[in-house]
Symmetry: C2
Subunit: 205 residues, 2 copies
DNA sequence: TTTTGATAATTTTGTTTAAATAGTCAGTTT
DNA sequence: AAACTGACTATTTAAACAAAATTATCAAAA
């Protein structure tokens, strides 16, 4: 039974990988189940044997990406030297994540208003992890006396993440674009680093 | 000739006011030229005597609102005691402006991707004014020695405005709501003040 | 248990027509 | 002449429908 299960997992992985490539390259709506099956020389029906429907397949890929992302975050954030380094790690890794998977998130832009609950759960999970790791970082720094004592680190991190998010959505709003285009991402990144700089100085007593 | 011109201006104003009320109440696309004309007991054709088309009428209202907004900003910002007060003024006034005219901006959400150039000019003008007034505030504070010298105040203000914007749009994004509700407004406001606090401390040498 | 071809169900796309609304203009009123 | 209108045309939106594409199912085969 374990053998069979392993085999199944391997195939599942292959499907996830093929689906990811398609979604990344063409976006959600311009990817058909036939094409994914075709890439693997499988019948479309088999996809439905492994995944209940197209959106669940997409979500499964998303979950995989999220898990990797969270993993990266944990690994790097456990080894920071100071607060700024920790925050910069977070910004950098998020930046890379978004740049690398830009087209994959097409789904988000199209369904902007009503994303499936499962997607929201993943977003929440990521947010939670970020909060947890960064507020831990703040606590440690406060204990070391590098910054002044903060009675509610979560609140500070939440605020910072919001502010960083603002740099993302708003940095381009005077440029006739509502959603950041790929070519703006670097500018956004620079701005974010500057914000981190000022913000951290603001925390330092 | 001036008499005639004055009369025309008065009527123009009345049309702008009636149009504003309709746009504010029903949004752009659910307001018809017939209705606006009806509210004033005028023929629709007369609207076209005063304004070339519907969108120009909307833009004229928008321009009027923008002028008022900018006026408010200038008045208040010229009398600030310290940097924080100036920033808080800006936050408060912008907040009021958006809350009051919330439905009017329907037009923006619908035409999100391709707003007319004239609208963008108005947005740019507002942004310009905000930048100008707030960066002047920074310069004055820097001269007074209250904060450390800043070589590019505009950049700092731009960043701060983005960050503040983020607190607005993002404070609710984990709650599956796109636009803030009444019960979130206080939370947003508090968050923004906290951000201002940290940000200004970050500027203080 | 895994896989597929054939088929059903659903969604998207394109087309036509009718209705609503924007916009024009010759002519009337002030 | 400037301000205004009713009746008209032009455009845009909405609804209804058919055709095409795509998702999803299932009985049967490997």
């Amino acid at each position: 039974m374990n053998l069979a299960s392993d085999q199944q997992d391997i195939k599942r992985e292959k499907i996830l990988e093929a689906a990811y490539q398609r979604f990344l390259h063409y976006g959600y709506s311009k990817t058909t189940m036939n094409e994914i099956a075709g890439d693997l020389s499988l019948s479309k029906a088999l996809l439905y044997y492994y995944f209940p429907d197209k959106s669940q397949l997409y979500i499964a890929v998303m979950r995989k990406l999220a898990t990797e992302y969270i993993g990266n975050l944990r690994d790097k954030l456990s080894t920071f030297e100071n607060l700024k380094e920790a925050f910069v790690f977070q910004v950098d890794i998020q930046h890379d994540f978004i740049v690398k998977n830009y087209n994959f998130f097409d789904f988000f832009r199209v369904n902007e208003q009503n994303l499936p609950d499962t997607i929201w759960e993943i977003i929440t999970e990521i947010h939670h992890t970020e909060m947890q790791l960064l507020s831990a970082a703040i606590r440690i720094e406060a204990d070391k006396g590098h910054i002044k004592p903060v009675d509610n680190p979560e609140q500070i991190v939440d605020l910072l993440l919001d502010a960083l998010h603002g740099v993302r959505v708003s940095a381009v709003s005077h440029k006739k674009v509502m959603f950041p285009k790929k070519e703006h991402l670097d500018e956004i990144h620079t701005k974010r680093l500057l914000l981190l700089d000022i913000f951290i100085k603001g925390l330092t007593a």
